[in-house]
C-alpha cells in the first residue's frame, strides 16, 4: 500500500533517472501544504508554463527588441525549446487544445523535456487534457492527504544510462496482458511501465528488474489509466501464459509475478471511489477537449497570434505586431519619403488582435407535449425558459424550445437570448396526442448541430413523463418507438452533445433513467415540477 506522498516521491525519483523516457507526471491537488511541499522540492532550474501563454512565447518568434537594437534579425527561442530539461505547468486543467498540442509535439521529440503538470481541477471533468495525460507516465492525486503524511523530498539520483538493466523477456507479455485486462488502450502505458520498472531497478542500484520494481511500476503507471477491473477469472481475459513461458518464469525465480499480485498492487494504489466506479464499469473514459467549444473572436479570451485582417470595426490593433510588420520597411519607405519624420506605417502593416474565447451555451428544451399533463408541463417549461433567460446575460446562455406530440416535433422557439421574443412566441402552446420521443430527439439533434456550427455549445434538456409510443416514421408501435428513441439517443451522444433528462412523472420512469444513460447525461426526477424548480435543476446541472 502506497500513500500518495510516497507515490509522488517515487515518481519524482524515477523521473530524475529517466526524464525523457517517462515524459513526466501529473499532480492533482488543490492548493495546500502538500502541494506546496511538493512544488518546493521540484528541482531547479525549471521552466514554468501557464496555459494562457501565447504561441510565440512557447515555440519562439522574432525578438523585436534585440532585432531593432542590433539591426540584424534576432529570433527568440520559445520556452519549450530552451535548454531546460524540466517544465512545470501550473493550472494544467485550463490547457486548451492549441496549447496542449504544442506541448505534446514537444514531448514527442527525441530530446524531450520532462513535464510536471500541476492540475488544480475541482470537479471530475475538470482535468488535464487526455492527449497530454497520455504522454505522462505518472499521476498522483493528493486528495485526502494529511499533513502528517508529508515527509521530506527524495534525493534526486544521478542520471544513469539504463541500457544495461536486464529486463526478463516474459515480463513484456505480462505488462501488455495486464494493460489489456485493465482496459488500457494506449500502447504508451506498457512502454512507460517498462521504463519505470527499469528506472526503479536503477533507483535501487540493481542491474536486474525484480518483482518489486514491476509492482511499483504498474501501480504508478497503470492504476490511473485503468478503465475497468478484470472480473475474477473472467471469460474475456486472455489465456494464462503458455507452458513454455511458465518454465522460463521458473528459471527466473526472482521475477515470477502472478498477475493477481500486480492487480492487488494497482487496486491498492487507487482511491476507493474510483475503485468502485471501475468495478461497476461506470468509469468515464477520457474525452478530447472538443474543439467545438472554442471560437476565435477579437474581443476577449486567450490571446492568439495576430493576423493582418482588414481592420473591422471593433477589432483591436495589436501594436507590437503592427510595428513588427512595419519596421523592416522603414529603410525603403524613408527613401521614398525622405522628409517624413518618424516611423512610416502603412495600412497594410496593421495587425488585428485575436482572442480565443469559450463559446456561449445553448439550452435546447425538448418538451413532451403529449397526453393530458401536456399543457401544465409546457407552461412550466416556458416559465423555466423565461427564468433562465432572465439570468442569461450573466451566464451567456441562449435558449430554444422544441415540443413534440402526435407524430411530429415542432420548434416553438428558435435559439434566442431575447426575453421579449420568447414571451411573444410562446404565447400559445398546443398540446395532446401520442409521444414521438425519437422525433423530438431528432429535432434536437438537428438544432444542436446547427448551433455547433455557429460556435455555440448546446445542451439538450429533455422534459417528459412517459414512454415513447410513436416511432420515427409516425407508426404507433411501442417496440419500434423505443428502439428508435434509443438510436436517436445514441446519435445525440455520438454527436458529443450534453443532455439532461428531467422526469416530470409522478413516479420515476425506469426507461427514462436508461435513456439518460444512453445519452451520457444526468437523470433528474422532478414530479410536479414547477418553473422555479426546473430552472434550478437545469442551472445546477450546467454548473457541475
Amino acid at each position: 500500500m502506497m500513500e500518495p506522498w510516497d507515490r509522488a516521491k517515487t515518481a519524482r525519483a524515477l523521473l530524475a533517472i529517466d526524464p525523457a523516457g517517462l515524459g513526466g507526471m501529473t499532480l492533482r491537488a488543490r492548493s495546500g501544504p502538500a502541494r506546496t511541499a511538493f512544488v518546493n522540492h521540484i528541482p531547479k532550474p525549471h521552466t514554468r508554463l501557464h496555459p494562457a501563454m501565447a504561441t510565440d512565447d512557447l515555440i519562439g518568434g522574432i525578438d523585436l527588441a534585440s532585432t531593432l537594437e542590433s539591426g540584424a534579425l534576432k529570433r527568440k527561442r520559445g520556452l519549450l525549446y530552451r535548454d531546460t530539461k524540466l517544465l512545470v505547468l501550473g493550472m494544467a486543467e485550463r490547457a486548451d487544445p492549441q496549447f496542449t498540442t504544442l506541448l505534446a509535439q514537444r514531448l514527442d521529440m527525441d530530446d524531450s523535456p520532462c513535464l510536471i503538470a500541476l492540475d488544480e481541477g475541482a470537479s471530475e471533468g475538470e482535468t488535464l487534457p487526455a492527449s497530454l495525460a497520455d504522454r505522462l507516465a505518472f499521476h498522483v492525486n493528493f486528495d485526502g492527504l494529511a499533513i502528517s503524511d508529508i515527509g521530506v523530498g527524495p534525493n534526486a539520483s544521478e542520471t544513469q544510462t539504463y541500457g544495461g538493466v536486464h529486463f526478463p523477456e516474459t515480463l513484456h507479455h505480462d505488462l501488455v496482458t495486464l494493460a489489456a485486462r485493465l482496459g488500457i488502450d494506449s500502447l504508451r502505458a506498457p512502454i512507460f511501465a517498462l521504463r519505470a520498472a527499469k528506472a526503479h531497478a536503477l533507483f535501487r542500484s540493481d542491474s536486474t528488474v525484480r518483482s518489486e520494481d514491476i509492482e511499483i511500476a504498474v501501480a504508478l503507471v497503470f492504476a490511473h489509466r485503468a478503465t475497468r477491473l478484470p472480473q475474477e477469472a473472467a471469460d474475456d481475459t486472455p489465456p494464462a501464459p503458455e507452458p513454455e513461458t511458465q518454465s522460463e518464469e521458473q528459471q527466473e525465480n526472482t521475477t515470477e509475478l502472478p498477475q493477481e499480485i500486480l492487480l492487488e498492487a494497482i487496486k491498492a494504489a487507487l482511491p476507493p471511489d474510483v475503485l468502485a466506479n471501475l468495478a461497476n464499469g461506470t468509469a468515464k473514459r477520457g474525452k478530447g477537449a472538443g474543439s467545438g467549444k472554442r471560437r476565435i473572436g477579437n474581443r476577449r479570451g486567450r490571446p492568439m497570434p495576430a493576423r493582418d485582417t482588414p481592420a473591422k470595426s471593433g477589432s483591436r490593433i495589436d501594436l507590437m505586431a503592427t510595428l513588427r510588420a512595419g519596421i523592416p520597411w522603414q529603410t525603403l519607405r524613408k527613401r521614398a519619403l525622405p522628409d517624413h519624420a518618424g516611423a512610416i506605417i502603412r495600412p497594410s502593416d496593421l495587425r488585428a488582435k485575436r482572442y480565443q474565447e469559450h463559446s456561449d451555451r445553448l439550452l435546447i428544451f425538448t418538451v413532451d407535449a403529449s397526453g393530458s399533463a401536456a399543457l401544465a408541463r409546457l407552461g412550466e417549461a416556458k416559465g423555466a425558459v423565461e427564468l433562465l433567460l432572465a439570468q442569461a446575460y450573466a451566464r451567456r446562455d441562449h435558449v430554444a424550445l422544441i415540443a413534440f406530440r402526435g407524430t411530429n416535433a415542432e420548434v416553438l422557439l428558435h435559439p434566442t437570448r431575447s426575453l421579449v421574443q420568447t414571451k411573444r412566441q410562446l404565447a400559445s402552446l398546443p398540446g395532446g396526442g401520442g409521444t414521438p420521443l425519437a422525433t423530438g430527439l431528432s429535432a434536437a439533434i438537428d438544432m444542436a448541430d446547427h448551433a455547433k456550427r455557429k460556435g455555440l455549445t448546446p445542451t439538450v434538456v429533455l422534459l417528459t413523463d412517459g414512454r415513447s409510443n410513436i416511432a420515427l416514421d409516425g407508426t404507433p408501435s411501442r417496440a419500434q418507438a423505443a428502439s428508435d428513441a434509443t438510436a436517436m439517443a445514441d446519435a445525440l451522444n455520438l454527436q458529443g452533445t450534453d443532455a439532461v433528462v428531467i422526469d416530470t412523472g409522478n413516479r420515476p420512469e425506469r426507461s427514462l433513467a436508461d435513456l439518460s444513460k444512453r445519452l451520457g447525461g444526468a437523470y433528474v426526477a422532478l414530479p410536479r415540477a414547477n418553473a422555479q424548480r426546473l430552472s434550478v435543476a437545469v442551472a445546477t446541472h450546467l454548473d457541475q
Binding site: L58, H173, L187, R188, P238, R307, W329, L332, M488
Partner: protein, 335 residues
C-alpha cells in the same frame, strides 16, 4: 542524432502503412489522412516515412527544390546550374505556425540591414516536390486551412503583399493526422486527402507485446536495432522504386474503369475526385504487387482507403463509413 523509428519496424497497422507506400509510389494520389486514438503510432509512421522515400534531384541552392534550372523561380536568383540529390523533403507544419511562416514573407534581415526587398520562402516552398505533414490537422486554424486548400488545388503559392509579388510552385503530398475526439475536419479539407485511414490500437496481445519489445529494443539497443530494420527499409524503398517503373507499363482495361465508376455511383461519393483517386490508388497497388494488369481484386483492396472519407455522414451508422464501403464493394464487385 538518433534516426526516427524505422518504418518496417512498425507492428501491424497495415492499412496505414499501405496508404503511405501507395502515395510514395504515385504522389499524385494526393496525400494521406490518418485518424485514430492516442498512442497508435500515427506520428511515428509519418516520421519514419522519410527514410522510405527515394531521393530527388534538385538544383543546388534552389529554395523550392526545382528539378531543372529552368524551373527555378526568378526571385530566387539561382545562378548555378548544378544539381544534387537530396532526400525527399518532409516538412512539418506546426499547429501554431503563422501565415508568414507558411507562405513565406519579406526577408526581414535583408530589409533591415541592406534595405533590400527580398523574399524569404516559407514552409510551402520547402515542401515543394515533397511532403507536408500536419499533426493534429483537425485543430489547424481556419485561415491556414483556407490557405492550404488554395495552394493544394492550384499547385502554386502566390504572395501579393506591399511591393512583393511572388509566385512559386508548391506541389506537395499532404499528410495529416489527428484524433477524432478533438474535433471534425472540414469536408473541403477532407476531400484534399487522397486516402484516409482509421487506426486503432491493436487488440491482439501478441501484437501489442511485439510493439513494446521493438520500442524497448530501439531505446536500449539502438545500433543493432537500426542495422536490422534499416535493411528492411532499404528493401521496401527498392520495391517502391521498381513499382514506379511498373506503374508506367500497367494496363487498365475499360471493364475496370466501368467497375470503378459503378462503385462510386453506388456509394454516392461526391464528384469525380473519388473515382480518379481510387483508380490511381488501385494502379499503384497493382504496381506495388508487381502485377502487370489492373484487376478487380486490386480495386477491392484499396476501395476503403480511397473512398471512406468521401461519403456523406450518417449519425446512426455506428459501424463507420469503412464498413459501408466494404459492403457496397462486395455488392458491385462480388465477394
Amino acid at each position: 542524432m538518433k534516426q526516427p523509428f524505422p518504418f518496417s519496424a512498425i507492428v501491424g497497422q497495415s492499412d496505414m502503412k499501405l496508404a503511405m507506400i501507395l502515395t510514395a509510389i504515385d504522389p499524385s494520389i494526393g496525400g494521406v489522412l490518418v485518424f485514430g486514438d492516442r498512442g497508435t503510432g500515427k506520428s511515428t509512421a509519418v516520421r519514419a516515412l522519410a527514410a522510405l522515400l527515394p531521393p530527388i534531384t534538385a538544383v543546388k541552392t534552389c529554395p523550392v527544390n526545382s528539378a531543372v534550372p529552368a524551373d527555378c523561380p526568378e526571385w530566387a536568383n539561382v545562378t548555378t546550374k548544378e544539381t544534387h540529390e537530396i532526400p525527399t523533403p518532409l516538412i512539418d507544419l506546426p499547429l501554431g505556425a503563422s501565415e508568414d511562416r507558411v507562405t513565406g514573407a519579406l526577408d526581414i534581415e535583408k530589409a533591415l540591414t541592406k534595405g533590400e526587398k527580398a523574399f524569404q520562402p516559407g514552409l510551402l516552398a520547402q515542401a515543394n516536390r515533397g511532403y507536408l505533414y500536419i499533426d493534429e490537422v483537425n485543430l489547424l486554424e481556419d485561415h491556414i486551412v483556407d490557405l492550404l486548400l488554395d495552394v493544394a488545388q492550384s499547385g502554386e503559392n502566390v504572395i501579393e503583399r506591399e511591393g512583393l509579388s511572388i509566385r512559386h510552385a508548391a506541389r506537395f503530398v499532404l499528410v495529416g493526422s489527428g484524433n477524432p475526439e478533438e474535433g471534425e475536419l472540414r469536408p473541403q479539407l477532407l476531400d484534399r486527402f487522397g486516402l484516409s485511414v482509421d487506426v486503432a490500437s491493436p487488440t491482439d496481445i501478441d501484437e501489442r507485446v511485439e510493439v513494446i519489445k521493438r520500442r524497448d529494443a530501439y531505446d536500449t539497443d539502438y545500433t543493432a536495432f537500426m542495422l536490422r530494420w534499416q535493411a528492411e527499409d532499404a528493401t521496401l524503398r527498392d520495391r517502391i522504386i521498381s513499382a514506379r517503373k511498373t506503374l508506367t507499363k500497367l494496363k487498365t482495361s475499360d471493364k475496370t474503369l466501368r467497375d470503378v465508376a459503378e462503385l462510386c455511383v453506388k456509394l454516392g461519393s461526391d464528384g469525380l475526385r473519388g473515382e480518379l483517386t481510387l483508380l490511381k490508388a488501385a494502379r499503384a497497388y497493382a504496381a506495388y504487387r508487381d502485377d502487370t494488369a489492373l484487376t478487380r481484386s486490386h480495386i477491392r483492396d484499396v476501395a476503403a482507403l480511397a473512398l471512406r472519407h468521401r461519403l456523406r455522414r450518417d449519425p446512426l451508422d455506428e459501424a463507420g463509413s469503412g464498413t459501408r464501403v466494404t459492403r457496397i464493394v462486395e455488392d458491385v464487385l462480388g465477394a
